[in-house]
Point group: D2
Chain length 426, copies 4
């Protein structure tokens, strides 16, 4: 589904007056603080986050999955959903593919569709946590860390194939989330599993094109419930250092033990020029994969303060590859993604408002109270008019969620694709 | 599959000498502490734990499920698997059914088969966390707590049907694990969801036969990741008190927040005569559903100390309905269950060894060091000869796991049932 | 120290113009949503939170305590600090005393001072977690739960004495935070410890004046690290139910296991008319006692939604007794309290903005996305002009922290009281 | 206090017969498994763990400290307590000093006393988490990470002084536990705090004698409750790599977030030859500093499996510097240490029993069930006779705790030192 730009403009127009008013009030308020509002608008307009192809259908848990309707059942339809999302939000111009879920039959068709929708292909993702029909070896006991050389070879070959596919589409990075681990003490010899994983990664790394990056994700548990081979940032960082300059750590917000100070991990990785990718979601208990900003928006804001500081100060660290990695068990995935994009940009905008100079001064003087005031002043500011203004300027929806609903998009998708269509994913 | 008792005896005989020696050494050691070894043997022999019908196939996670082979594909085959388990361990003479997974077509056949295998039907379980084909209303947004009266009515009716089915099979209790909850703040009005749940439970409770019990399970998260309607023992206990004398709390070891002192909850519930059921499993992170005793055997032992104390001292609390509630993603389910049964009985036996009189005296004197010595003395004792002796006496396997493997049971099941058969469950 | 009202007005005047502008913009914005701004102003003006007498000095950890200077070294000085806080914020007109830290020598003097400062005496607090010089029995192994009757008698007598003292000062409630527990498995017989505690509480409850309330706090760990006798809301609720209509549960935000859904506990307790008291603070790991709103402001907002809903709908639940219970290891305690009061009122104001009617409708329709939008719309609104307006109207400081600093209050206190004075507390 | 060896022998003799019997039974059992019992005895006899000088008095929490009596009030008395511990257990021949708590006035006297008691000086510890009287700069806002160069210089100088003192006593390593961190978001600039810490460590590292090691401890929280500069093993490992070959990570069992898989961290560090030191204690919630083995003895056993594997296979990793780091709030510290030493040796002995060859084979075959059986077989074995035999052979007490009590050591210490003496520590 594609929305007529005139229609967008028309719907926007109905709220234009209120926006102008709230925007000018906010601009005045920021002016008084000597904040360059135009620069802010630019930054917000430039901000883009990748949408994973596997997040467009209703998600589930081990206890089951409920029906949605109108889910995209092939890659072209997935691109269309993301294209729509980008049209509304102007912040989702990248797609992250997942193989073999997104096997590409006709590269020209896929590239043409993406181009038509102004979408680029971001990091590609391999899958060695499930067995596919016809696969020679099972990943039940691991893939890149498996004891059996032929299983490792199969997993390595799959990753290389993913690189090749991504290369044809214009991707420039491979994300490896390694689900390998153990469910019981003594199942793994930790040291050997780590060494085999290292060797497997070396093989993949060797095949990485010159201008590509390798992102190594970490996770403490799930789907294995005693150990994961790459359990934390320390392990990922160690592996990335070992592999070389093109290897980086990828932070997924849901992949931490209770109470972890994630913003400090972000700061450390950027300080070491090793933060490559970033997966957004939110959670209360574990890898709950909830809508970004729905549970801990302040933590997200604190993380963005570190990200912005690092982007500004750690020039050797690449600009992070942003992606939303959530599961949509309850909400319409497109609505969920709209809310997530909004939450990310709100956190980003607020973090941009922090008076870095005053903060540095307060820190210099150990003025803890003032330092808190400075960041909370930014957090408490209502930045929504900025986001709206920036979106409208770029041709997007003033209120993406409202427009999505006003245009009955989901119903339209159901009418087109049927109520029984199912997207690949979890 | 059924093992010939002669074969059991013959295999046992090969280790009989070593057993006699280790048993007599242990008996001497216990004698010196004035422990009545015969009484211990009796208690161990009497101990039975229910096996859920849904735990006989390979389990999975939201990321997928790997193949096993030889899984029971109907209720009769499930009973046969449990019968085999009981034959080997002599501690699994109860089955816990789950509806609609275990729909019974021919009651006579099922009862005859159970009787043949010396199995009884323990608590029956309802399922309102998944939608079944042809179901009028979806449980996507809840069941007993649902806003829509007709959804609640459907869920209530299902529970009543489960009671009726269980009644025909000789069950005497219904376990309700209510998966209802919310994934996002504001999704639920907490108070109203609780009130609707209470009213729904009242309806079910009214239909409970006179000699039945209702077990109310609690869980802090999963499959909902922001809130669960019955989130903790306090909520379950409150509901059980409200419903009446036949309602009890059910403790599942995996259903707690990190670091919870579960043994204290057990003690409190028994003190209030409201501990009805008990689900065994083990976990490191959340509801990992790992083999009992594989992660925190000492915690299990501490819990058994409270259970034994309560059984002895809280006469108004019913004898708890034990069940293993684990998921078998990695191991052969039958081997996993054998290990779990063994771990439960080891914890039970060790807890029975605690010198309660000396402990009471140490506690009286605030002799914390001695109190620890007393329980650790029990924990450090190697009780395996006791379990073996007790099993052999009852006609079971001295070494159930060894015998299972020696007899190539899994291969036999694959040969009979095929490598593609799938059991219902998660 | 006391600030001249003229001085307050004068300082306020310098920011008056900006306030008027931002306030009128916010008022317009709220008007458009049909929110009664005057009513909001009233509610905010009426909101008062108690300040504990033990939170006016620099706090510490088991690793030590750093010096501050100008700490109040007696009750009169503590009242003066709280009086100042109230003068600036207009939201701290209650004092919560702690015995024996706040032994009162001259009731008339204390009452006169409080009256002069427009302060009332809120809940009184007993202390049986430390030994005092000259005390007959030690609380090393417990107080109300102690095995030794004479220790329990001493602890009961102390609580009764605290009631009597509080009664003379006009307090109407006793808060019991029972630190009793065990550091090691088997140290306690859980059931007996609970029973002894129940009996001790009965004694205290009997001495409670007719118009008093008893607040029972709960906490999962610290200062005991294996078990606490009153470990969770379930236990506190059970005890409160047992004691009678004057007994209530008290929720302290820092007293929960990782990831606990506190707002649901609040909702449940109010539903049962048993939420009596509420202690504010914030934390990342445990009972960190950090400034309110400094770590999880969104969680605080969600909790306030439940509190407001309960105050509106659970008429049989008493209006909660609010108190700040934080420790000030790093910040100047008075600045910390100013920030905490501000954070509480921000959360309160935002929660008041939630469109309850629309939310109920969204919940009715299981419109999870809209329900989230509704509460986030309130959360994202910048309510600070409301707080400022309300404060100025009542004679307080437009910017309490700024004024505190502009007037060099801490330096003034150091000049008066010396840099070595030490307040009682932790 | 010093026990006459004859007295030890005499008391041992009363239990000699039972020991011989249980030992020979165990030896037979192990023989059947082809385990070299003599080698085991040797290993157990050789195992020594350092006792920190600050763990000999009653510990406390921020809520207070209860009295013990007979605490050592100077270094000589501390050495005597440890000497006694070593006499009884034969496993505590090392002392770990802490400065400035253990300021040495007369090196000859201290060395002579240690030599007389057969004690050596293990790692020395610096203290920059407290302010000492007369100190020029405060550590309130940090030490090695402090913004102010002169504070850092003071902290660096202190560490260098500690090295010099340790050098005179024969120590060969410095342990730095850096308590620096922040209580509130924005208090620290994470990157700069890390960089300043790195630079400070470089200064200290430069002063490290050639044959010394530097151990860098990590901890996620406490005494700072938002961030700690060295929050996890990853940060410590990064710093150790940066500093050079003499720098290592130190693992303290209590310094991890909930649910951390510590054994995997141990394996990773040993794989990288960077595990230097190891602090034993146990905990249920945080850094509870409880007696070793009192809460999670199975986890300790799993950790020892990794330690033993690493000692055997990672030849470039130094033999770890073991130390008990617990706090004794409830128990008599000497009794607590006796229990802890016993628990450590039990875990060590059990881990030594694991059939490494069979385990490697089971792992090779992904036989998860068998792998679990193999380690649990070791864990379930009652190894106490081995420990007793080993101890008696070396002249220690068959039952150290029993002998400690039989000889009324604490009473003797109180008689000698008084009931009001206080040891330095927490």
């Amino acid at each position: 589904m594609r929305i007529n730009p005139d229609q967008i403009n028309e719907i926007n127009r109905s709220s234009a007056e209120v926006l102008e008013q709230s925007y000018s009030q906010l601009a005045d308020q920021l002016d008084r603080k000597n904040i360059d509002v135009d620069k802010l608008l630019h930054k917000l307009g430039d901000f883009q986050v990748a949408i994973p192809s596997w997040a467009l259908g209703q998600g589930g848990t081990r206890f089951g999955r409920f029906k949605l309707g109108g889910e995209p059942s092939n890659l072209i339809e997935k691109l269309e959903d993301i294209g729509l999302l980008h049209q509304l939000t102007q912040s989702a111009n990248m797609v992250s593919l997942h193989f073999p879920w997104d096997s590409v039959l006709d590269y020209q068709e896929v590239k043409a569709k993406a181009s038509e929708l102004h979408l680029k292909f971001d990091a590609v993702n391999s899958n060695t946590f499930q067995d596919q029909i016809g696969q020679s070896h099972s990943y039940k006991f691991g893939s890149l860390s498996h004891r059996d050389k032929s299983v490792r070879a199969q997993a390595i070959a799959h990753n290389i194939e993913v690189i090749e596919t991504g290369d044809k589409l214009g991707s420039k990075s491979l994300t490896i989330w390694l689900a390998d681990g153990s469910n019981f003490p003594a199942q793994h010899n930790f040291q050997q599993a780590l060494e085999r994983t290292t060797a497997s990664l070396e093989h993949i790394y060797q095949k990485l094109p010159e201008d590509w990056k390798l992102f190594i994700e970490y996770k403490p548990y799930e789907p294995n419930f005693y150990s994961m081979v790459i359990q934390d940032w320390g392990t990922s960082f160690m592996l990335a250092n070992h592999l070389g300059d093109k290897a980086y750590t990828l932070v997924d917000l849901g992949h931490h033990l209770p109470n972890t100070n994630i913003e400090q991990i972000v700061a450390t990785l950027m300080n070491q020029n090793k933060l490559g990718g970033f997966h957004f979601n939110d959670s209360k208990y574990g890898d709950d994969d909830l809508s970004v900003g729905s549970i801990k928006p302040y933590a997200l804001f604190l993380i963005f303060i570190e990200l912005i500081y690092g982007i500004e100060n750690n020039k050797a660290n690449p600009y992070p590859a942003w992606m939303i990695d959530a599961s949509h068990n309850t909400k319409d995935p497109l609505e969920d993604l709209i809310q997530s994009i909004e939450a990310i940009k709100i956190a980003y905008a607020k973090a941009l408002l922090v008076d870095q100079k005053a903060l540095a001064q307060a820190q210099e003087e150990n003025d803890v109270v003032l330092a808190q005031e400075l960041i909370q002043d930014a957090f408490l500011t209502d930045v929504r008019p900025l986001l709206q203004k920036s979106r409208v300027k770029k041709g997007g929806a003033l209120n993406p969620l409202g427009m999505y609903r006003q245009l009955s998009v989901r119903q339209h998708l159901i009418d087109t694709r049927g109520s029984g269509s199912t997207a690949t994913g979890l």
